[in-house]
Amino acid sequence: MPATLERVPGKRTFARGVHPPDCKALAADAPIEVVATPGEVQIPLLQHTGAPAVPVVKNRQAVVLGELLARAEAFVSAAVHASLAGKVGRETRVTLPNGRHVAALQVRADGEQLEGEALRAEILGGDWPTSGLDSYTPEQIVQAVRAAGVVGLGGAAFPTHVKLTRNAQRPTDVLLLNGSECEPYLTADYRLMVEAPGPIVTGALLAGRAIGAERVLVGIEDNKPQAIRALRQAAAGTGIQIVPVQTKYPMGGERQLIPAVLGREVPTGGLPLDVGVVVLNVGTAAAVARAVVRGRPLTHRVVTVSGPGVVRPRNLLVPIGISYQELIDACGGLREDAARVVAGGPMMGFALGDLETPVTKGTSGITVLTQAELTRDAEQPCVRCGRCVDVCPLHLVPTKIALAAKHRDWDLARRYHMLACMECGCCAFACPSRIPLVQLIRMGKALVPRS
């Protein structure tokens, strides 16, 4: 296989960063299981970056699995579909974990459901072609992805068809799949790579074709040897390269993975597109394959429910719109000492106040932490030890930026490049004085007057 032996220009790591305990053993060996069909789902109309989707269904209208509920009118927007068969309810409002209040459509389960193994086979199983994909034109691929409402499944939920649309001014030569999953506890991408490498490879080939990529690469942290093996096997002969990268937080960030694999530095305030790269999460690639090859929309995703505060950590294939409470119940419920429920991983996830919140396309996991993991140490004065500087993957000076933000000194904040911060949280993780550095910086970024 000459393709896999081809060298990549990156050093397979990035400078600085931290090594939190990965705690993936809790759920790493739990195979993906299909969760029981819930009685109802709440499907938010804005689960993605961009404009909300516009409803096309009426109250009490009967819908089937995968039927369009709301369509994307703006270019940067994504359609949403029914994730089970049933009756549409009234438009409600829900509060997502990130604090946004958005409109949502309720769908009550009604009639026969596709569930269990049949659902799993429909979404992940079956044959995934790796040849003959030339019959799809780039326009067809983008159209199918847009119609399926595919967004980035890694967390930011940026509409995928926007990334795949070719731009004459900024040509791209590399499609980079992100399989690093650097957040502790989360294993959803890992299980997908191990159990269903087929759709990932097909999706990668299709997305690569859409953007006109000369190379398709998959970056996977080297603490997931099984995933690396499974994908190498599935990608044999397709020209896709699997690149093991160092296990280090935040390797899953675009600004870390692209330099690690390709040696290219994404400019501050710019996009991977500026250096000719499109980055997709491995789960997104699988959704692209399903959208193009099977014409099926994004209605389900894999979610890890893990952490020491949950009885039976599992990886679940769940319909979009199911509540966090139901997923936790499916995992045996919360332990008595559960203290915080986090949407996503513990480094960048959002703490939940209300478990009736619906799962969205960007939900990669639920981490339930106990008092033992949470820090309750009192904040102490900064001794300027410089550890935050030593760990900042973007080479900022977090202590100065946090101080500037605290005192609303925007000149100082600008001098220390506050807006370059990507809020990965390494600084707050490393601070021996327990100063909430990234929290202060986040506040500063929200408050700074943008002229």
């Binding site: 330099p259 530095e265 429920v341 140490d377 102490q380 001794v383 300027r384 030890c385 001098r415 707050a428």
Partner: protein, 336 residues
Amino acid sequence: MTEEVSTQTEAPARPEPGFYVAPAPHLAGRGGSSSTRWMMVDVLVALVPVLVAALWVFQWYAVKQVAICVIACLVAESLCMRWRGRCGSVRDLSAVVTGAILALSLPWSAPWYVGAIAGIVAVGLGKVVFGGLGQNLFNPAMVGRAFALVCFPAALGASAYQADGTVLDVVSRATPLTLAKQMGEGSPLWPLFIGNLNGSLGETSALACLLGGLYLCLRRTASWEIPAAIVVTVAVLGGAAHAGGLSVWGAAEHLFGGALLLGAFYIATDPVTSPVTKRGKCLFGMGIGAVVVLIRLFSGYPEGVMFAVLLMNAVTPLINRWTVPRPVGGPVPVRA
């Protein structure tokens, strides 16, 4: 029903089970010296070899001096904190570290009130007036020592180190620095390295400073860049001065003699008063090394570590300003 009621009355006012909500990250690093208190404990552990060497050379004079300075610093800290209406800062152990380092920088013969006044000034003027731990511009121990040097020049001058007729043999000779400065006399390297000769309490043994300093750097409580930059600069400049006939001391004597290693590993590495970036730390160390050599060669004082540290402390905010690192991806673009 009745049972329920009874349990209600026995365990009243249990709040509804709820979840604390807080912004990410939800984890914090553990292990190593992961709190300011543990950093101070690390410094104290690293000071053990130096204290042992001082005990070996100066016997109970060392015990007395360390005890006086530590107690003075602790008393000053607790009094000042009471005046400021704060509590708890004595427990961060920073006053103990300041006291120990101050004592190790004094001569064996300093009377008790010199150590006590220096200790009170170190914490009071060196730290608390700036706002306490983390706010001070200058190294507190060095502020205390400088104050004592100005007030009691006789007790800290070259003559204070030398005395005849005591139980200590080593103090019958002048310190190696004084010998080199005033008589142009070199010193054999081995005693400089081991430490059985005259000097301030903690400075005589290069070996002890290296042992403790290495521990500090390996624990990453001290940044290795600062001592490395100081040592390299002093070695280069000291060696050049020796080659140029300016000094009887060569590079090795400049490194092992005087308070250089004590200053490089324990005093200059105080994180509060040194720059935060790697580049800044290198500049800071180079500055200290250069000033030490300049003072040793051209000033009236035999040793210059204290002045070098204080001088570079004053420049630290400026160095921080000069060495803002370039963010990965370049500076934030200015929007038109």
